[in-house]
């Protein structure tokens, strides 16, 4: 049998080659100002061949992967949603032929105790502290994920397709290397993988060039300022999903203890990670203001163990507490004493904004993009914006939080400065009045010496008005949030527009030189 297959393959036609897209794409849009032979806008193939030729180029499809610490989403470029989101769970890590996950008693055998730093580790692909991470295991997990995604959801033929990989910014290099290795090693065989970071893609997905991206992720909350599609400033905090589910678990444990565990079987109804996460995902919310309260009603929740048919009741208001305690803790002491991990997300955002140059800050303040898994928590986005605007109102843009004994001195300087500003403004206004009113009297004055106001000049105004036509005013300085489609959709946008990636790993180069040599990755 094998010998018969051998010559079958030697006769196998070579993989069809197609002309590079860059050569053909130019047929649509040439450079407007460079001298050139007039291009045939109608393609030659339309005259001499079937019209299908030009469409085929359009159809070059890229694969988009987005890698998070808990999930891998994959799909095709040009689509608004990923085809699938693969979550890493303990059950997805079972060996082949082990069907206990489908059995009735699998849940009971889960391990009960989960220590503080072990929390949710079975649901993670990696964590950014690589000292405790088995990289081989990460590779195994990711390899299986990519394989499953391809077999179950993408179902592609063997044509090689380019891939775009969206990664969290500052992902440790070994992990990037593993991700590339897995993608290149998979039999879909992408000729190259473009690497992009998620804050940037969130910005693209919102339609912006500049913006402040707040990623409420699993392990960390990352606040990134993006200026002209570049990451400019970044701050991180561990106040994120992991901490939130942990807080939620504590709250639920209290409820369970008071309501269910009179019998004393403490082990049975222990709050598991899965339960805490599900409650967080389904029922967590955030109050609009710190002291605004909703009419408290009771919410019925299932008991943590699936065999227990009893319910626990908890006030609805309580379910907003973990979110607020985790992400928006009220600073009891001066925030100068805290490091980034102690700050509320609002303060973190404020600090990033404060570190930006003035004009970028003005742009970013009104382009706040909140994304990430936790951004779906109802009430959280408006609350963040509200807190931020009140913080800005209260503090202004002053780097110094407290002047201490110099407060009076500083106030004096400010006063003087503002007096100067008003004086200048006052001095200018009569001048303008003068020039406009005295215009006819300037006839005798030579041209050079005439008082002329460029701003008020009718010609200038007309030109400016023409220029401004069709352009809306750029929104600045006011606090405003912008919705984004997310990093995956951003990557899909980038790929469908055929923007050339700066960081592109070529398959052959990668196998030869690894990450360091591969196309100038590092």
């Amino acid at each position: 049998m094998a010998s018969s297959t051998a010559d079958y393959f030697s006769n196998r036609p070579a993989i069809r080659t197609r002309p590079p897209t860059s050569a053909l794409a130019g047929a649509n849009a040439g450079p407007p100002h460079s001298p050139r032979t007039p291009l045939l806008n109608r393609s030659i193939s339309s005259q001499f061949g079937s019209p299908g030729g030009s469409y085929r180029v359009e159809q070059e499809e890229n694969l988009i992967y987005e890698l998070g610490s808990q999930h891998l989403s994959a799909g095709f470029a040009g689509e608004s949603r990923p085809r699938c989101i693969y979550h890493f769970t303990p059950d997805s890590g079972r060996s082949v032929g082990d069907y206990r996950a489908c059995g009735p008693e699998c849940r009971r055998k889960r391990r009960k105790l989960q220590s503080e730093d072990d929390w949710g580790s079975e649901h993670e692909l990696y964590r950014s502290d690589l000292r405790a991470v088995d990289l081989g295991l990460v590779e195994d997990k990711l390899e299986r994920a990519v394989r499953t995604v391809h077999i179950d959801y993408l179902q592609l033929d063997t044509k090689p397709r380019k891939a775009v990989l969206a990664l969290p910014s500052l992902l440790p290099t070994p992990l990037v290397e593993i991700a590339l290795k897995v993608l290149f090693n998979h039999h879909a065989q992408p000729p190259s993988v473009v690497l992009l970071t998620t804050p940037l893609l969130a910005c693209v997905g919102a339609g912006l060039r500049n913006g402040l991206v707040v990623e409420l992720g699993w392990e960390e909350t990352v606040v990134t300022a993006v200026g002209e599609y570049k990451e400019v400033a970044q701050r991180r905090s561990v106040r994120a999903g992991k901490m939130l589910t942990r807080e939620m678990a504590k709250l639920l444990q209290e409820e369970v203890k008071t309501q269910l565990q009179q019998g004393g079987n403490a082990d049975e109804s222990d709050v598991t990670f899965e339960y805490a996460e599900e409650v967080t995902r389904r029922m967590a919310w955030c109050r609009a203001g710190n002291n605004s309260d909703h009419t408290s009603g009771l919410i019925k929740l299932h008991s943590p163990s699936p065999d227990d048919l009893r319910h626990i009741y908890t006030p609805f208001t309580r379910l907003s507490k973990p979110v607020e305690d985790t992400l928006l803790p009220t600073a009891s002491t001066s925030p100068t004493d805290f490091d980034d991990h102690d700050l509320s997300i609002t303060h973190l955002v404020y600090r990033v904004l404060l570190s930006l140059p003035l004009d970028l800050r003005a742009l970013c303040t009104s382009r706040i993009i909140i994304t990430g898994g936790l951004s779906a928590i109802p009430g959280l986005k408006p609350r963040l914006l509200q807190d931020l605007s009140s913080l800005i109102e209260q503090r202004g843009w002053d780097h110094v939080h407290s002047y201490g004994s110099a407060t009076a001195h500083h106030a004096k300087i400010l006063q003087e400065r503002s007096a100067n500003i008003t004086a200048i403004a006052n001095r200018q206004t009569p001048e303008v009045q003068f020039s406009s009113s005295k215009m006819p009297m300037q006839e005798s004055v030579p041209h050079v010496e005439r008082i002329h106001d460029d701003v008020q000049d009718p010609v200038t105004r007309k030109v400016e008005g023409e220029m401004r036509k069709g352009k809306a005013e750029v929104v600045k300085t006011e606090v405003r949030g912008v919705e984004t489609l997310g990093a995956w959709a951003g990557a899909s946008l980038v790929a469908v527009l055929r923007v050339k990636g700066v960081h592109e790993a070529e398959r052959e180069e990668f196998w030869k030189h690894g990450l360091r040599g591969g196309g100038g990755m590092l």
């Binding site: 094998a2 010998s3 051998a6 393959f9 590079p20 050569a23 794409a25 130019g26 849009a29 100002h33 460079s34 001298p35 050139r36 799909g75 095709f76 608004s80 949603r81 990923p82 085809r83 699938c84 979550h87 890590g93 079972r94 060996s95 082990d98 059995g103 391990r111 105790l113 195994d140 394989r147 077999i151 959801y153 179902q155 033929d157 039999h187 919102a206 339609g207 912006l208 060039r209 389904r282 029922m283 919310w285 609009a288 919410i299 019925k300 299932h302 609805f316 779906a376 109802p378 009430g379 408006p382 750029v474 606090v479 912008v482 919705e483 959709a489 946008l493 527009l497 055929r498 923007v499």
Partner: protein, 574 residues
């Protein structure tokens, strides 16, 4: 890590976890007793990575060209055809991607419980009962209904006028719903579907890229691509000078950002748009929110908030795939490319090539059941192993090849993992006879002088007392040998689950390390199997692999194969 004991799993050598012991010990394994393993060389079945390397033998394939075991990691797959598991029609490859890898016929899955939905006719009276106000419909309406959880498309207020072309009707209703929402609440921008936002963003970016000019150079492959070249050519023909050219080229305007809703920009302020969701969460409670599985069931449901927004998803297509060896690109499994035909044209199962290991107790205290014949749903109860009590097992190696095979086994003296059990293979090196037809065995058995040996053995097994029970296992001796299988004795002393109490107080870390996780109490013995056999080179096969490239037809070529097998013996009593 299985639930049925005893059982065996095979590790594909492609994983770096399951690499061969070391070259030196491999060489030494010609003298069988010197194939020894130190603790860290051994394959650890309890490591979390082992789950990704171990397979049941039935899942593994074998490449004849490379003489290697192939697992899903080291074969590539190519799709023969796509088909819907519900209606069993195949789908042409051109439409697969456009339909989202989903069936475009009327196959829908319940968004609530993933059961296939059925098209049910709702008679007019019934409908009146369900929804008294909505009396003005067609004569008969149809809904999608789940037979298992009783979800029906009435819950999302979707009904159909005819029982055919469900996909078109559903798509139309969804479109109407999305755009209808916009009409009713034009001020509320948030209801705009992400698909629309995406489309407007795409068109916006396309416009901007076209406007912002020559980012896309059409001459990338021609000699005119660089400005210097172009200037040279232009000056040759008396055109503009390079400097003049530079001037005419004005700096392209950078692409601007999206500015309004038509360009895909949606802002949210501090207004309380989420209050509605919160109050709904409060009133309708836990059951109104979807589970994670429901959300992930289809891309349409990825970002819904409430269970009544669940949209039925068309059945996900499945594929029939051929498998190729990743190294030599030869097909190792391929079915008939016809829907419904399960026949394989090529299927090189590892089972037919590599020796199979099975283990059973020497003195079973309860009858062994084959898990395949387990008719009751509950798990069969296994006897727990007593720690520190030596047990003897019969390890049977069955040969699938038509050649005699030399086997050497190696196992670490103590099993890796938290519970260390001592394992000794009494006879680690032996040969196994060739396989053949079943008739061969029967005929050869009858030809033996001791012809009623089979009956004797049968009698013995019935009465339970036989000469074999008196036999004592000896080191270096084979326990039992049939035509194509050989059995040896393995002695296992299970370790204790609890560490012995120590006088020194343990730190928290040590205590945490001692904590047993799922399946830590399973006694699993990793065994490295090395097989050697000689194969006659058939004419025409001489140029297959490198190592026997210069072998002449008819000559014998030595082959060898090494792999790890994990024998799950049982659970240790705590």
């Amino acid at each position: 890590m299985t639930t049925a004991f005893p059982s065996s799993l095979y590790a594909c050598p492609c994983s770096d976890l399951s690499s061969a012991p070391t070259p030196s010990s491999k060489r030494a394994s010609i003298q069988p007793n010197t194939l020894e393993l130190s603790g860290d060389q051994a394959f650890n079945p309890h490591s979390p990575r082992a789950n990704y390397a171990l397979y049941p033998l039935s899942d593994l394939l074998y490449c004849e060209e490379c003489d290697e075991i192939r697992c899903p990691r080291c074969w590539t797959e190519e799709i023969l055809y796509w088909y819907c598991p519900n209606c069993l029609f195949d789908v042409p490859s051109s439409t697969v991607k456009g339909d989202g890898n989903r069936c475009s016929r009327s196959c829908y899955n319940c968004p609530s419980c993933t059961t296939p939905l059925q098209i049910t006719q709702v008679s007019h009276r019934d409908e009146g009962l369900l929804k008294p106000t909505d009396a003005a419909g067609g004569d008969e309406t149809y809904v999608l209904q789940c037979q298992y959880c009783d979800w029906s498309s009435l819950e999302i207020d979707v009904r159909f006028s005819k029982p055919t072309k469900i996909t078109e009707q559903l798509a139309k209703q969804r479109k109407a719903r999305v755009s209808g929402k916009e009409d009713t609440a034009p001020s509320d921008k948030k209801v705009t579907a992400p698909d629309d936002v995406f489309a407007s963003l795409v068109s916006f970016y396309k416009d901007q890229l076209d406007e912002s000019g020559d980012s896309r150079n059409p001459y990338s492959n021609s000699p005119y691509n660089s400005p210097a070249n172009l200037a040279r050519i232009m000056s040759l023909y008396g055109g503009l000078s390079y400097n003049a050219l530079k001037k005419t080229r004005e700096k392209p305007q950078p692409m601007r950002e999206a500015l309004g809703a038509p360009e895909g920009l949606f802002s949210f302020g501090t207004d309380r748009s989420d209050t509605e969701i919160i109050s709904r969460m409060q009133t309708s409670g836990w059951d109104a929110t979807p589970t994670a599985e429901q959300q992930l069931s289809a891309p349409v449901n990825h970002d819904i908030r409430f269970a009544d927004e669940l949209w039925p998803s068309a059945t996900q297509l499945r594929t029939r795939r051929a498998k190729r060896c990743k190294n030599c690109r030869h097909i190792i499994a391929r079915q008939e490319p016809k829907v419904g035909n399960m026949r394989y044209k090529i299927r090189l199962l590892a089972m037919n090539y590599i020796p199979r290991l099975s283990i059973r107790p020497l003195h079973p205290t309860m009858p062994l059941t084959n898990p395949a014949f387990n008719l009751k749903p509950e798990m069969p109860q296994h006897e727990l192993l007593q720690p520190h009590k030596a047990q003897q097992y019969v390890l049977t190696i069955r040969n699938a090849l038509f050649e005699t095979v030399k086997i050497s086994l190696a196992t670490p003296a103590t099993t890796p993992g938290k519970v260390a059990s001592r394992v000794t293979i009494l006879c680690p090196s032996f040969t196994v006879g060739p396989a053949g037809d079943v008739w061969d065995e029967a005929l050869s058995a009858s030809a033996e002088p001791n012809s009623d040996g089979g009956r004797k053995a049968a009698m013995a097994s019935l009465t339970g007392s036989s000469e074999s029970s008196d036999r004592q296992p000896e080191a270096g001796k084979i326990w039992e040998r049939t035509r194509n299988s050989t059995s040896v004795i393995v002695e296992v002393v299970p370790g204790a689950l609890q560490q012995p109490p120590s006088i020194v107080r343990k730190t928290d870390k040590e205590l945490a390390d001692e904590e047993l996780e799922e399946d830590d109490d399973v006694l699993e013995v990793p065994v490295y199997v090395r097989t050697e056999w000689e194969m006659e080179v058939k004419p025409g096969e001489s140029v297959q692999a490198k190592k026997d490239a210069n072998a002449m037809p008819g000559e014998k070529v030595g082959k060898e194969l090494g792999y790890w097998v994990v024998l799950a013996v049982g659970r240790i009593a705590g």
